[in-house]
Symmetry: C2
């Protein structure tokens, strides 16, 4: 069975050496001292390794089954879900007013990583509930909040998000589901939604569906879409559960992965729904969920890559095959471990340097969310808005790539389901698709976010890098290994932005043809910045006499690897971007 150990030291390094969370002037952050965060993460890691990880393969093999209109989850899921609730793992950052623990979002995300690495399909039931909680928390009336949130913080009731229909995913303006106003102020929701994760299951008493639909007579297209709360069981005024609502599961999809999570076709047949937020402003409310969900998906990317990596390392140390070209290293054994071979190292270092960089970027993103939400910091808000498509798109692409790379270390054994390595890759694959396929993330980044508020946020990002480099000069090796590569990569990214400005006006295709490259390029620059900062933090810790020198030296070596071998990808992306739309758009549709 695959192993999983929560990388708590690495997380603590990011929280304390890098972000220095307890020193930040953000409400709630003063509590986050090293002991406290360590204790929380230790406990989360225990739940992840002992409760969730053992069910990961079970979920994959058994999958979910539709029986008499209800979804049965794989064996053991119900009990594990109860343990999650009982342990208080469902609402770390929720408002204490509704039963949450009121911790910063960054702590929620750190704990999430361990749970997602251990069992992504399982954790989605809770992740979607959290996103639905946020949408109701921000857009709901007081009565709605009182009615739904306390049960959602505990996951006694779970949540879903219903956007996609058979004929429309990205282009929600084509939506056909309608919401007919009723005399009692509610709406009758009718239509079919597909790809609804956690659409039904047997682990909660009620399921709160958030559903996009059109109120007849409203504006055409996306501007006429509203968001509705549609509970599986109608909730009575006293909070007790009433009638079964007119929503049912049409079928469960057979998927490439995340078999432990039921992906449902949901049929709404005049189901009772309650408007959430403003009429016709459903997309805005849905984006509250989406943005949070997108960060979560970026986390899923590297969380799957992380657990796959841990297993690949164990295998590389254990499996004896061939001899080191520089001389036998395991003379007592019949062969040396795979770990001696340079190309195995190259592969593992790719994975390791990405995982740790992506973790830093994600935690930094969560920290920006906290600053934005708790301090009302508009700059942080703008920055995380810019970063969201990068974190989602780049990290899910790379997360899948490296889950596949970790599988490769196993050779033939990686292709056999028994090893568990195939599941990591198959599960990671979905992150590139849902919550907006990565092509849409690239479009969002280049088509909207770059120019948002007059380009202010991307300028601030460049300025941040420039300032960081200027402020941290002095150590020759550090400059050569970290600052110089960062500077070069950042220059490439700026050149790409410049190309878009100069050529996108003439023909927007010149920018959009390079959007995917830009997203990846920016992902590299972000992780490059993280590694430059982590390298500095590690050097500082060593200078301050930190006792665990091996840990900090490993950080520096891993960072050097990323800067030397991954970050130079920006030049390739720039070269591609600079060719514009010419070769991309050259063919007629019939010529493909």
């Amino acid at each position: 069975m695959p192993i999983y150990n929560a990388p708590i030291k690495d997380m603590q390094f990011i929280l304390h050496d890098l972000l220095k969370v307890s020193e930040q002037d953000i409400p709630g952050f003063d509590e986050l001292d090293r002991d406290f965060t360590g204790a929380v993460l230790e406990e989360a890691g225990k739940v992840a390794s002992e409760v969730l990880a053992p069910l990961n393969g079970v979920g994959d093999t058994e999958g979910c089954v539709l029986e008499n209109g209800t979804v049965r989850t794989p064996k053991g899921f119900k009990e594990a879900f109860k343990q999650m609730k009982d342990g208080g793992w469902t609402a770390m950052d929720c408002d204490p007013q509704y039963g949450g623990q009121g911790l910063p979002y960054i702590m929620h995300m750190a704990a999430q990583e361990t749970l997602v690495s251990a069992n992504m399909a399982f954790q989605m039931y809770q992740g979607l509930t959290h996103a639905a909680y946020s949408a109701i928390y921000i857009h709901g009336t007081d009565a709605q909040k009182q009615m739904y949130l306390p049960k959602m913080t505990t996951c006694e009731w779970t949540g879903t998000m219903n956007l996609t229909e058979p004929h429309c995913g990205t282009d929600l303006g084509l939506m056909r589901t309608k919401a007919d106003p009723q005399d009692d102020g509610s709406y009758a929701i009718t239509g079919q939604k597909i790809f609804i994760s956690a659409g039904d299951h047997d682990m909660a008493d009620n399921i709160i569906h958030l559903v996009l639909a059109k109120i007849p007579g409203g504006p055409d297209g996306i501007k006429g879409v509203s968001l509705f709360i549609v509970p599986k069981f109608i909730v009575n005024d006293d909070g007790s559960l009433g009638d079964r609502n007119g929503v049912s599961v049409g079928k469960i999809e057979e998927k490439m992965g995340i078999h432990g999570n039921a992906t449902c076709v949901m049929n709404y047949d005049g189901a009772k729904g309650y408007l959430l937020g403003e009429m016709h402003k459903g997309m805005r409310a849905m984006f509250t969920m989406m943005n949070e969900a997108r960060l979560g998906v970026g986390l899923q990317g590297y969380a799957q890559s992380e657990v796959a990596y841990q297993n690949a390392v164990a295998y590389a140390n254990d499996r004896l095959q061939g001899r080191a070209v520089t001389g036998v290293e395991n003379p007592e054994g019949p062969a040396d471990p795979l770990m001696v071979h340079p190309d195995i190292r190259r592969n593992l270092m790719d994975q390791k340097s990405f995982n740790e960089g992506a973790r830093a970027l994600t935690f930094w993103g969560a920290y920006l969310m906290d600053r934005a939400h708790k301090n009302g910091d508009a700059e942080a808000d703008g920055l995380i808005s810019l970063m969201t498509p990068v974190i989602k798109g780049f990290q899910s692409d790379k997360g899948f790539e490296y889950a596949v790379a970790a599988q490769q270390v196993y050779g033939g054994h990686g292709y056999i389901e028994e090893s568990g390595m195939s599941q990591f890759a198959r599960d990671a694959r979905i992150a590139m698709i849902y919550e907006g396929a990565n092509s849409v993330q690239a479009l969002d980044l280049v088509g909207r976010k770059l120019a948002q508020d007059g380009g202010k946020h991307v300028m601030a990002f460049f300025e941040m890098i420039k300032t960081f480099i200027a402020d941290n000069k002095g150590d020759e090796a550090y400059e050569r290994d970290f600052l110089d590569p960062l500077k070069a990569a950042s220059k490439d990214l700026q050149a790409a932005g410049m190309y878009f400005m100069q050529n996108g006006m003439k023909n927007p295709n010149n920018a959009l043809a390079g959007s995917y490259d830009f997203m990846h390029m920016m992902g590299h620059v972000c992780i490059g910045l993280m590694w430059a900062r982590m390298g500095k933090a590690a050097i500082d810790a060593l200078a301050d006499g930190a006792s665990d020198t091996a840990f900090y030296e490993t950080k520096i070596a891993t960072g050097r690897y990323y800067m030397a071998r991954q970050l130079p990808a920006t030049a390739l992306h720039l070269a591609r971007i600079n060719t514009g739309a010419d070769t991309v758009m050259a063919l007629d549709a019939a010529q493909f």
Copy 2:
């Protein structure tokens, strides 16, 4: 259900415009005029689309089942296999002396592509038989050839290759299976082999296992390995089937993909085996199979990418989602087809330009094999020996990458098994692993092939590029779009070779740490060379007044895309190679 149409025009272009096969002075090539090859490929394509493709999903869903010691193949496989035999599709290039059709290997490979695209798992039963045929054909005694080959050309008997054991895959010197000499001149084979594709099934009367084992008392390690013919049923002297041999299926593995092909644990319990080739020279004989199989796996890579691409194109033209940023293109519809979006184009062009380039490289490889085998051309032999790890490693990596990219075009629908896109990706995944994991291909390329015969073959390859560039100057646009990028990429590749020479002596890890990058780099340069040649061939065809101008213009545009957007990857690979082993080998095993 997914579609498949054999890309016959593209194949004909390679055979006739590019390779001009019928003009080559190679025995049998004079027959290969345009009409003949077109007719053969037309028929192969029909079998592929009408017989094999409809069974691809069936094979994936049903898989193989072990019943009473025998493997039952998915519904319809048996009938389809009979159609393959009856149609003469099993032995196109086999020796007429043994019932083959004696066509050139290049025709065999071209026909194979269509069958592999249509149903890779199914086609492996035949592909392995072909490889076993070749091993017996080259290394067998006359009696062995008479006994086995006629039945193998028709696939009345199929073949397998047995190398891997539970504790050793790449490092076959650790092998434990033994072959005890018997009084009658045969050997008693005892041991366990794993990952045996097509190890058992119900579609042939007999299965001829080629098994590596050690004769006690022989040299240690790989030098003491011999190859044996171990039939499932002993063959009597009159050719009739005798007793069941002591070989049985331990179990069928559950795999990520190629479910239609039984991957078996094979137990040999004193099974009767017959030495094939020389004692203790088993690896040499096995490599006859391996080299052929590796070209076949390189073909599998792009063949899966090709069929996935065809479906992605159909979906992109069909699915309406969003509007073109440059203005509505489908005013009658509720939205424009996906095909209007630049990033969808970018993705499809990546796939298309790779598939066509890889096909050219593979056909060229097959042509070199024909030259080597039929003309005894040592240069061609050296060149294909150099190319084999590149074709296998690069094309299977990219084939998987682009099967995944094609799946991505489908958005959420691509993750659902019903669309068939997941299967293409899952099936393509194995090609990166079997017949020597791609890390081993990179090692073979950099550790052995580059220096083979004093580096003569890689020098010849560089010289070929140089000559081609020198000979084809004159057209400004062609120089800019094709020759200049090829020159730059080739320069990068030479610089990498130079780096290895200068730094690999001091420390071989400096070369091996860059081996994977080198393999990819060389793959790009090979495909770049193919595109430069195809671009020229298309320009020449247009200048000669070819009627199908759209076809040739599409070729030129697709080539321009590859040169502009894919080939520049060589610079990134060089940058990585130039950092040597330093950051790759920096950590102790415990620091991972």
